[in-house]
């Protein structure tokens, strides 16, 4: 194709095409191509579209089916498919599929979610989700925080000489041999390690302090790797004190163990969040945003609060009076101890090996 000037006007001559023009056309088409994909991804959801959500099984699956899947299906006549499993499997798969994800939305924990954004696996939170503007600050990092569930010390009050008020109380001789220490690198294990470092003068860059202090607590009653296992240990008297999610532990205490106390250490509880993340490269961007908006809606937030004592992350939810004392308020959320998760991820492998060798092994 060649431009020919005829009577002061540029006309197109279709008979021939120069190599340079052809090159420009190819370059132009190449530059325009991403917009085609973007248009497709941002297009309004159509009936029959399918959203793939990676989430934990059990009650979490039931709650999102009721409060997200049903209204989404009603609104867009779309289908939601769930991939169930633990965070490690989900995260490993999302990393393996970076840029060409089979998931549209995945649920991660606090530190994995922030790193996933840095690694280009998932998207940062944006106002494209209407509820974004109501999110508490901590829930805008690494995706959309959907539940605040801080980690703290839990213990059997019958076995405590004095109430636990500090993380340092774990080192009181009365708890020797009675502690179920959480496995690293699970969220509880990371919180235990980092809080130990913080209260004994270390930090994310000086973690040796924490390992040395934790070693002083040996022998442990057990190394806990799941809530089910830990609560069974409390039931059967295997352990008397542990580090665990306060929300789930409150539920356990109310239903099974009236002697369980959820401590409020003076140094603060460790921040932990469940985060919904939209994958980079999803073909269902709009539907994924709608899904997350539904998760952040009042019915879903309240269902989570009622069933699991997961605290809402948005400020436009009216929390019933009976639930308020059992949840983390926004003011309390601001006081939760957060960490430099980049440093944690950077050192995760070395810390895991050290934990296996010196603490668990």
């Amino acid at each position: 194709m060649r431009h020919v000037r005829v009577a002061g006007r540029r006309q197109l001559h279709f008979m021939t095409i120069s190599r340079r023009t052809f090159g420009r056309l190819v370059l132009g088409a190449g530059a325009a191509a991403p917009f085609c994909f973007a248009r497709r991804a941002l297009a309004a959801p159509k009936p029959g579209d399918e959203l793939v959500v990676g989430i934990w099984g059990g009650i979490q699956e039931r709650l999102v089916r009721e409060h997200c899947e049903k209204p989404l299906g009603k609104k867009f006549s779309c289908k939601v498919n769930f991939v169930l499993g633990g965070t490690p499997e989900r995260r490993a798969r999302a990393y393996a599929e970076r840029g060409r994800p089979s998931f549209d939305v995945i649920y991660l924990n606090i530190f994995e979610s922030r790193q996933a954004v840095k690694d280009g696996v998932t998207q940062a939170a944006t106002p494209a989700v209407p509820q974004y503007s109501h999110l508490v600050d901590i829930a805008r990092l690494g995706g959309y925080g959907v539940a605040i569930n801080p980690i703290t010390i839990i213990y059997d009050k019958r076995k405590a000489r004095v109430p636990v008020t500090s993380w340092k109380d774990l080192w009181n001789p009365e708890w020797k041999g009675r502690i179920a220490w959480p496995a690293f690198p699970a969220a509880e294990g990371a919180a235990g390690l980092l809080m130990t470092a913080k209260v004994w003068g270390g930090d994310e860059r000086n973690i040796g302090v924490a390992f040395e202090k934790i070693k002083q607590l040996k022998p442990f009653a057990a190394i806990s790797s799941s809530q089910d296992e830990l609560y069974q240990m409390f039931d059967t008297g295997v352990c008397d004190i542990a580090i665990e999610f306060g929300s789930l532990s409150r539920k356990y205490g109310e239903t099974r163990n009236p002697n369980l106390v959820i401590a409020m250490p003076v140094e603060g509880q460790a921040a932990a969040l469940n985060v919904a993340c939209i994958t980079v490269g999803t073909a269902n961007q709009k539907l994924a945003e709608e899904w997350i908006n539904l998760h952040l809606s009042e019915p879903c937030m309240l269902a989570y609060a009622r069933e699991m004592y997961y605290s809402p992350t948005v400020d436009n939810v009216r929390i019933p009076a009976d639930l308020k004392p059992k949840l983390v308020s926004f003011a309390e959320a601001a006081r939760l101890v957060d960490f430099d998760w980049s440093a944690v991820i950077h050192n995760q492998r070395a810390w895991t090996t050290r934990f296996n060798r010196e603490i668990a092994g």
């Binding site: 399918e50 793939v52 959500v53 934990w56 099984g57 059990g58 009650i59 979490q60 699956e61 039931r62 498919n81 769930f82 991939v83 169930l84 499993g85 633990g86 490690p88 499997e89 995260r91 490993a92 798969r93 990393y95 393996a96 599929e97 970076r98 060409r100 089979s102 690694d119 496995a183 690198p185 057990a222 190394i223 806990s224 790797s225 799941s226 809530q227 089910d228 296992e229 609560y231 069974q232 039931d235 059967t236 008297g237 295997v238 789930l248 239903t255 099974r256 995760q348 492998r349 895991t352 090996t353 296996n356 060798r357 668990a360 092994g361």
Partner: protein, 562 residues
Amino acid sequence: MKSWAGPALAAPATLWLTAAFAAPFAVVLLLSIQPGSDPFVHIALAPSAEQFRAIIADGFYSAVLLKTTALALGVCAVTALLGYPFALWIVSLKPRWRPLAISIVLVPLLVNVVVRSLGIELLLAPDGLINHGLSLLGLPRANHMLYNYGAVAVGLVQVFLPLMVLSLYDVLQANSPRVLEAARSLGASRTAQFFSVELPMSLPGLRAGLTFVFLMASTTYVSARMLGGKQVWTTGMLVWQDVLENLDAQFASALALIMTLIAIIASLAIALTASRLTPWLDYRPTRAWSMPRFLAVALDAFMPVLARLLIAIALVLLLLPLVLVFVQSFNDVPQAAMAGFRAFTFRWYAQLFDNGLYFDSFWVSLKLALATSLVTVLLAASAAFALVRTRFAGKAVVETFWMFPIALPQIAIGIGMLRLLQTFAALPAFLGLLAVHVTITLPFCIGLLRASVQQLDRTLEEAAESLGAGPLRRILLVILPTLAPGLAAAGIVALLLSFEEVTISSFLTTARMTTLPVRIYAEATYSLEPTVFAISSLLIAMTVIGMFLLGRVVRLDRVFSR
């Protein structure tokens, strides 16, 4: 046989494994020689020994490798100890009782490994059945039976005992009763008959059983995680942790390859020992086995009691966890792992039928298991004929290649698959899962069918040929009917192994393709409710009824005999 027959018969299994196993294995191999721990590492062909150096230099990894090997050897020893009297007991039963006994062996294979491990937890927990029993007898409670190597070993013995029993039963029932009669007529006591006749003749079965159990026990991680409580470390757990939690596939691949090397060395050691103990199989000179008189008398005195005790232990180990699963399905407790019966409820069954999710996954698993069984049997039968009836260049290499998927830890195949996900994403999910399930079940079925083809009476085929039957008629009218029990056995084993597979399926599962074991495992990663016991109890009931009905048509004891 024509010269091309061997390669032609060997081709289907070889091609399948090349596509579905060799590709992920090659990825694992390449990953293991990459330096660093970048989760997005671009695979380079320049080799680096960094990962292997790190493993060898770290005493922790060497210690875990040694402990895992010791654990697998211990599990092998215990399964053999329990498996022998149990298999002999089944052989000694009247024919009408054998299908029931075979069912006792098969039913546990159909129950998910997570559920079976939970059954062991309910048995060993501080408020579990054993401690209740001790309390009733006025004995002190044993509160530390869980979360140690002993608990893991008990769990693994429960999981792998059926494989050992089936391997031993296969050879023991094939022994001619006349051999034992001859031994008796020469004055051999029952104990002497066992040590001089049955034990030597059953060594090929013991070799197969030990190999299967060692390879699977040394690569385990689900049972070890649940029953070891993170205080027990196995190499499989370390590989799982590195590849999934630390996203360090390079290190995990190197560790998986070392596990594979140990597995291959162990398999060769077992094969060599079995070969030296069974010289008659290779037409080498043989010395009669004998034992001192005093030892024979001593053994005669306590062996019958010991045998009964071991049979009772095997029965309890196989069945009690399943009974606990059944009881727990009616227990009104909020979590599956809670021991002790609180109150009777149908709630978990109601929940099961209400949401239907377990049934969706059940159908996915059943369809996958049936397809796997069919494809595996076709490939394995062809491969077995290639091994037994033909000679061709490279036969030994091909045979080793076919057995390789057992030696490589399943988690390692998962690592390779994770890296190949981009390619596999283009495949329909069902085909991806089918490819991997056939890869896992094929070595077992080739082993089973090889023995069955060896036992075929060639004179029948020659007689048919002399009467004018062509190759197709000989296959349809002579070979297939006589091979039917072997094909059925291989089909059932493939079906059961596929139905309960969770390790690789959890990597490959997709939104529309969640198998039942993956759903159960997914729930176990968060908080497992007793609904899982309800679906497992239904499965057990269905299996028993299915076995009963199948037993009316086919003699199950013959299915598992050559």
